[in-house]
Symmetry: none
């Protein structure tokens, strides 16, 4: 696409130079940008109209109305499992995004090395230095350290409305073994799990960890999706039948929900497929996937609260809380990213997008 648009752009540039009546370059660049971001090519219009989710209304429907009688924790308690010797930004992005959207409490479970750094990013987070990596664990100690790590997380498990597994997790074998056990504990406690980043590396190599768990959400990017398709469907990605293939993949993994991130986000639970293509930004700075995982965690928690409380009287479609959480999370991130890009253009960073989460939410769903 870059080459194609580059060529388009040069053609435009020449015509602008050759004809006095041609519109100014800035206007042409703006037009080209809008064409690319809004994707007003034939197949996108079709796709948008047929599968596009009513994302703003869904977000409004699942976001709780404020009630002064509620107390701390009732608007959501989420936990991020991630943060190791190399990565400390990703779990922070996911955890702080959850708070900025409206969760009451946000925890991070990371390695001892990562904890002081993640804590120093924000006093708002509760950071537990409990994970261990191979370099700090002797072979003899592995069993009892695994039990200790899993127990440290499990004593909190019942309190969490959602777990985000993967942001900045790294690929240390011992750490990933512990995280596999944590995922099993979360399933036993019926806690929803969002799998992103290195969590997808873990799960793609051991699909049984999430297979058949309807409260699991996978949020792969282009490459992570490719590996998932190859591993589970034993074939290559087929963009001619993107919707059908995504639905088959979700069904094959036993009805988990998959949010395939891209220019247009595609979401399926194996039963239906929805797309979210409004707004968005052409900037691809690292960390936006972490905002998405933290956002989906909050909206999924709210959708689940609403559906459990409403005992089936809820008039909303789709009715699967994981689908609702993905649609709302995708819509909010895309709007925040577009607002940040309007302001910062090429220098847009993930922290700029996080700063736009509140305004985006207020635009779509005013607090009062």
């Amino acid at each position: 696409m870059i080459v194609k648009h580059g060529m388009n752009y040069l053609t435009v540039l020449n015509s602008a130079r050759n004809h006095k009546l041609a519109p100014p370059l800035a206007v042409l660049r703006r037009q080209q940008f809008l064409i690319r971001v809004l994707g007003v090519r034939g197949e996108n219009r079709m796709q948008g109209s047929k599968f596009e989710a009513d994302s703003d209304n869904i977000l409004r429907a699942i976001t709780p109305v404020f009630d002064p009688n509620r107390h701390k924790g009732q608007a959501g308690k989420v936990a991020v499992i991630g943060g190791c010797r190399e990565y400390t930004g990703a779990p922070y992005f996911a955890a702080i995004s959850a708070l900025k959207i409206g969760a009451d409490l946000s925890h991070v479970f990371c390695t001892k090395d990562a904890a002081p750094v993640i804590k120093s990013y924000s006093p708002e987070l509760i950071v537990h230095p409990v994970l261990e990596e191979s370099y700090s664990v002797g072979d003899r100690d592995k069993d009892h350290i695994t039990r200790r790590v899993v127990a440290e997380v499990d004593k909190w498990m019942e309190r969490f409305d959602c777990l985000v597994v993967g942001p900045g997790l790294g690929r240390d074998p011992f750490l990933l073994d512990c995280v596999s056990e944590i995922i099993k504990q979360a399933r036993q406690s019926n806690v929803p799990i969002i799998i992103d980043g290195d969590g997808l590396f873990l799960v793609t190599n051991n699909i049984g960890l999430v297979s058949g768990y309807p409260l699991a959400i996978l949020t792969p990017n282009v490459n992570e999706y490719k590996r998932l398709v190859q591993k589970v469907l034993n074939c290559e990605v087929n963009d001619q039948d993107a919707h059908g293939q995504l639905m088959s993949l979700a069904k094959q993994i036993g009805g988990v929900t998959i949010l395939r991130k891209g220019k247009c986000d595609l979401i399926s639970d194996g039963e239906i497929v929805k797309s979210v293509s409004k707004h968005g930004s052409p900037r691809r700075c690292g960390g936006q996937g972490d905002i998405l995982s933290g956002s989906v965690a909050v909206f999924l928690s709210w959708a689940r609260q609403l559906i459990l409380a409403d005992e089936g009287n809820l008039i909303i479609s789709p009715t699967n809380p994981t689908m609702l959480g993905c649609i709302a999370g995708s819509a909010l991130l895309r709007k925040a990213a577009s607002l940040a890009f309007e302001d910062r253009k090429r220098s847009t960073l993930t922290t700029d997008i996080i700063e736009c989460l509140g305004r985006s939410l207020e635009d779509i769903c005013p607090a009062c």
Copy 2:
């Protein structure tokens, strides 16, 4: 309540969708919000008028007028006992709030792990890495480490106008044993003590630590209050007689002052009950209780200074400095929270509220 409001909201959503003449969703949400926040139900109006403290005038009465002849420390020296392996934000919120309101010096006594992180949040705080947790202490060393920890705090004790015990304290048994000894030292030195967070867990299990100490303030939230009532009054919380039960509880603990946090803050010293219900915010992000404990510490110190200096000629009601401190602290936090919410709405975090403390204080009680 979640069910009720979820259903209300969806009914509204449907009517808005089904009837052309239905008011816009934003208007309906606004109306619902105002009805809940203003609490225009009979019992709330009654409660407010009968027990509501004259909080703004009390805050103005106890806040000292600036005097160029005063020197560092005379406007207040507070200390927070808290901060452990998991929690570093809570003691920071309490200690920095005290400074933002006007204290001259704010100390934090925490574990060695927590100290560098808390120091990194702000260069304004004096952070002492003196507390120890079980995992870093051998059984043989416990006695002399306890003596050393208590001595480290005690050598500062006489300088403090108020101690805040509990924000981010954690529940490590050895650490809590040391804190019990610190509370005993503070009582011997006649230093006021505010007990919050995990400090309430400690005190609820050993009520003798504060029983009969008139300079102790407990600041329980919904769950902490429930445990306190069960333990001390051996019954359940009775919201039909919220005022009477709170007064009985405070009297039963020998005249300590209790600030029961909620939609309407209730305060009693066993003799009278006052409420503070002005302003406030529907956002329940974690950390607001820490701001309150730091604020009450400063106002209590000022009220006590004023009462001691005035030798009984002070015309102000109530006359108990712990009641005055609680009323002013509650009023200030509620105003700051409402200002922050006006600006940030759903994305309001505790740090946003702390940034509004100065403006709130200036609105109620201009510096000059």
